[in-house]
């Protein structure tokens, strides 16, 4: 187990290395002079020179790469070309809303979707099952921004229960924080509830066909025990996989929601950086997202060993 953990962490190093190399080359191999790209159209030769020196562009490529990696390892992701603020600070300022929404979405989704899937599988073929599946199709097919605007119209404008947009840090109290992430969470949850409810239902249907479910029933155990103790735990592995990858996707996929609700998160930071060609920010965001994917995948694999005693690394 410990050996496996060490191996997996070691294996993550080349993965991140390849990502870093790609991110590095992104800037260096784009046609044209990176300094010119960075400086923009109206730069003076002196400005270009300064940028070249500051980026070490006069050094050989591999020296540049290792210098850059060395800085990364010390937490130095460079300085934004637009705002001149260190990238790490920018991300630090913007990450809280994104993490908050991602976490609340995942928690809300699991609370809603897993029971829905279990019930749909249990009542397989009945109207309950069909209702859950229909909900899931709607969740998949309605665009996020439509859901967002409909929710704003209903809960913020018509009913006036919740604010239309904006964000309050958790540090400034749970009430205002909760009020402002409720609608974004609901909005974002739709598609994940659809996905995870379907997944849970499919996994449960497979498991409910298994012989040990018949054994459990033959023991005279109540249906609830059969479903939760015997079926759900066996169905958990594929469901956890989807929840995990869903979480990783959330971090990088909240752009629309952040835009609709005017939240200062890293999704919008990324879009702004791409539009402004703020390369250091883009680089940092790519690295951050890949890092989250690698980390979440490791956690998923480790969770398997807790769920299924047959899986031992």
């Amino acid at each position: 187990m410990l050996g496996y953990l060490i191996r997996r962490i070691l294996a993550a190093i080349p993965v991140m290395g390849v990502v870093a190399l790609f991110v590095f080359l992104l800037l260096r191999l784009t046609p044209g002079d990176p300094a010119a790209i960075l400086a923009g159209d109206n730069a003076t030769p002196e400005q270009l020179d300064r940028i070249r020196t500051s980026l070490g562009l006069n050094e050989p490529l591999y020296t540049q790469f290792f210098t850059w990696i060395g800085k990364l390892l010390h937490g130095d992701f460079g300085v934004s070309l637009i705002s001149n603020v260190p990238v790490i600070t920018m991300i630090g300022n913007r990450i809280e809303p994104t993490i908050a929404i991602a976490l609340s979405t995942i928690i809300f989704t699991v609370i809603v979707a897993v029971p829905l899937g279990v019930i749909a599988a249990w009542k397989h073929g009945t109207w309950i099952d069909r209702f859950v599946m229909a909900l899931s199709v709607i969740g998949f097919s309605v665009p996020v921004f439509v859901i967002g605007y409909v929710l704003i119209q209903v809960f913020a404008i018509d009913l006036r229960w919740l604010p239309v947009q904006g964000y309050r840090s958790f540090a400034r109290g749970f009430g205002p924080f909760f009020e402002r992430i409720a609608l974004p969470t609901l909005t974002l949850s739709f598609i994940y509830i659809a996905l995870i409810a379907r997944m849970t239902r499919a996994a449960m249907l497979d498991v409910l066909d298994e012989d040990y479910i018949r054994t459990a029933r033959a023991k005279g155990i109540a249906e609830r025990g059969v479903l939760l103790r015997h079926a759900l735990r066996n169905a958990a592995v594929p469901v956890i996989t989807v929840i995990g990858t869903g979480f990783a996707l959330l971090i990088s996929g909240v752009v629309v929601t952040e835009t609709v609700f005017n939240l200062p998160g890293i999704g919008r930071l990324t879009v702004d950086a791409v539009l402004a060609r703020d390369y250091p920010v883009i680089q940092a965001m790519i690295l951050l997202t890949s890092g989250i994917y690698v980390g979440v995948n490791l956690l998923i694999d480790l969770s398997y060993t807790l769920l299924d005693p047959r899986i031992r690394y």
Partner: protein, 562 residues
């Protein structure tokens, strides 16, 4: 011989199934899966329900337990009385209370019948928690005592073990402990030993018999295996297509079956007495292995790699037109040897010679021309044929790969289907349109399409009903006579081996224990393990096909009878 001493016809009836009809759906004209079945099981008695697949024996038992899929299979007539209580009229809640307390069930596959993610002790504990108010300590003591009763070793360790850490026999013992921990009046055993090796089967059968004697349990024992019936039954019910064909005491049914179907069923059971030996052959050797071995290496981060020898030092010879059997229990390495010979896996040592040439180390391209000389038929005909390809294309695929024009290969496929006694129109149909036996014929036709010198049959008749099994064995025999093909026959079933093999190789733990002419090995084994295997063969004291007990003197199978 059987437990008949404990059962008397005056004992109270525990289970009474009367004129039961089960239909698909509840419409009055719906197809009947079970059609007017009646049977009784008395306290302390074992009633064996025998029948081939589709006879309705499992559906009957699931109905008693109230475990039928709701609204799919519906009891539309009849009555089931368990210890005085009408089961079909009972509520779901009442049925749940009756399960494990009054009636309990064990299933065929101990591998899949236990929840893989829950320790086995906890799974037994669930029964006690659902039906009693005992405290944790009493429950644990009771479970451990029950585990001792089913003769599990080291019960405190096994209590905490997960199913995958136990052997098949141990898992079935856990199932039995779980079923009997509350001392139910009725135990339903649905093919409980079918998935087990013969030696384990023997232990489990005697365990069920002993527990029955101690607790006076009524046992409804479902099986397709006449050998098992002869071992355990007091009375027998023969079922076919949802109807009871014949009922009677064990001896009466085996000695003097009154119905044609029962006679046929008994006649299909292959005899343990080897068929008359064919004269020694001087035909050329088509297949030889020399010290063949296969070692699996498991890599490990820390410490040395673990090695598992699945087969070692296997040397065998097969001549044209002859049949060589490899027999052994699961894990003996018999399938590994077969797969090495066909080069589906690569041997790690030794040689495999096809007509004199070593193919054990040939590269894949170099092996290609030799592939057609040796073909394999697998165990499960439901999974070994591609469901989306027509039978004709499946058979023609091999020859087409070797350059035969498509039209010609299809024509040949038609001829082969005729050879294996399938209708010519089978060629355009898909595998799911055929029964298990027919599919196995298709698999044989596919293997023959390449005109191989050697046909490897890896448990090729194990998944088939006895009557179908007899037909497929006859077919293989006929093909051998007509084509002069050599057969390498892998089986765990000594009866089958006795009826088809000229020579036999007995394997255990990856090694050859004993080898020689089938007539000698199966009647006068020299090695303890072979003797043990023969001893464990269920129903070996019955000569089913001739409706009489075996004359022990003539078999020499029992030790000391030589």
């Amino acid at each position: 011989m059987t437990a008949s001493t404990t059962a008397t016809s005056s004992a109270p009836v525990v289970l009474d199934v009367n004129d039961l009809v089960i239909s698909i759906g509840s419409k009055p004209d719906a197809h009947r899966i079970i059609d007017g079945v009646s049977l009784q099981v008395r306290q302390g008695e074992t009633l064996c329900v025998v029948g081939e697949s589709g006879s309705g024996k499992s559906v009957t038992s699931l109905t008693v337990m109230g475990l039928l899929p709701k609204k799919v299979l519906v009891p539309t007539r009849g009555k089931i009385t368990l210890a005085g209580e009408d089961i079909l009229a009972a509520s779901d809640r009442r049925l749940r209370q009756l399960r494990a307390t009054t009636m309990a069930m064990i299933f065929q596959e101990p591998m899949t019948a236990l929840n893989p993610v829950v320790p086995v002790g906890k799974q037994i504990d669930e029964v006690l928690r659902a039906h009693t108010n005992l405290d944790a300590r009493t429950r644990r003591e009771r479970i451990l005592a029950m585990m001792e009763q089913v003769r599990l070793p080291d019960v405190t360790r096994i209590f905490k073990s997960y199913p995958h850490q136990l052997s098949g026999g141990q898992r079935q013992r856990i199932m039995i402990a779980m079923a009997l921990v509350l001392e139910p009046k009725l135990l339903i055993a649905d093919e409980p030993t079918t998935a087990l090796d013969v030696t384990t089967q023997k232990q489990i059968l005697s365990l069920i018999r002993d527990l029955q004697r101690d607790h006076g349990t009524a046992v409804l024992f479902i099986t397709h295996d006449m050998g098992v019936v002869a071992e355990i039954a007091d009375r027998v019910v023969v079922m076919r297509k949802g109807k009871v064909v014949e009922t009677g005491a064990l001896d009466d049914v085996l000695r003097a079956p009154t119905m044609e179907y029962t006679r046929n069923l008994l006649s299909s059971v292959p005899s343990l007495i080897p068929r008359a030996a064919r004269p020694a052959s001087s035909e050329p050797i088509v297949l030889e292995t020399e010290s063949l071995g296969k070692v699996y290496r498991q890599r490990s981060t820390f410490g040395a790699a673990r090695e598992v020898a699945a087969a070692q030092n296997v040397t065998l010879t097969l001549r044209k037109g002859r049949t060589l059997g490899i027999v052994g229990e699961s894990g003996s390495g018999k399938s590994t040897v077969a797969r090495c010979i066909v080069r589906l896996i690569d041997p790690t040592s030794g040689e495999v010679r096809l007509a004199g040439q070593d193919i054990s180390t040939l590269s894949r391209p170099a092996l290609r021309p030799h592939r057609k000389r040796i073909q394999i038929v697998f165990q499960d005909p439901y999974r070994s044929l591609n469901p989306r390809v027509t039978v004709g294309e499946t058979i023609a695929e091999g020859p087409v790969n070797y350059g035969v024009p498509h039209a010609e290969a299809i024509k040949r496929a038609g001829e082969l289907l005729e050879l294996v006694d399938l209708p010519a129109d089978a060629i355009t149909r898909y595998p799911h349109q055929f029964s298990g036996g027919q599919r196995q014929r298709i698999a044989i036709a596919r293997a023959l399409a390449l005109d191989p010198d050697v046909l490897v049959a890896d448990e090729a008749v194990s998944a088939l009903d006895v009557s179908v099994q007899a037909q497929v064995l006859d077919l293989l025999d006929e093909i051998q006579t007509r084509l002069g093909i050599a057969l390498l026959f892998i089986t765990h079933d000594l009866r089958v081996a006795a009826q088809i093999c000229d020579e036999v190789v007995v394997m255990q733990h990856g090694r050859v224990v004993e080898q020689g002419p089938a007539g000698e090995i199966l009647t006068n084994p020299q090695q303890a393990y072979t003797k043990q295997l023969l001893e464990a063969a269920p129903g070996r004291h019955w000569d089913f096909a001739n409706f009489r007990p075996v004359n022990v003197q003539s078999t020499l199978a029992s030790p000391g009878a030589v």
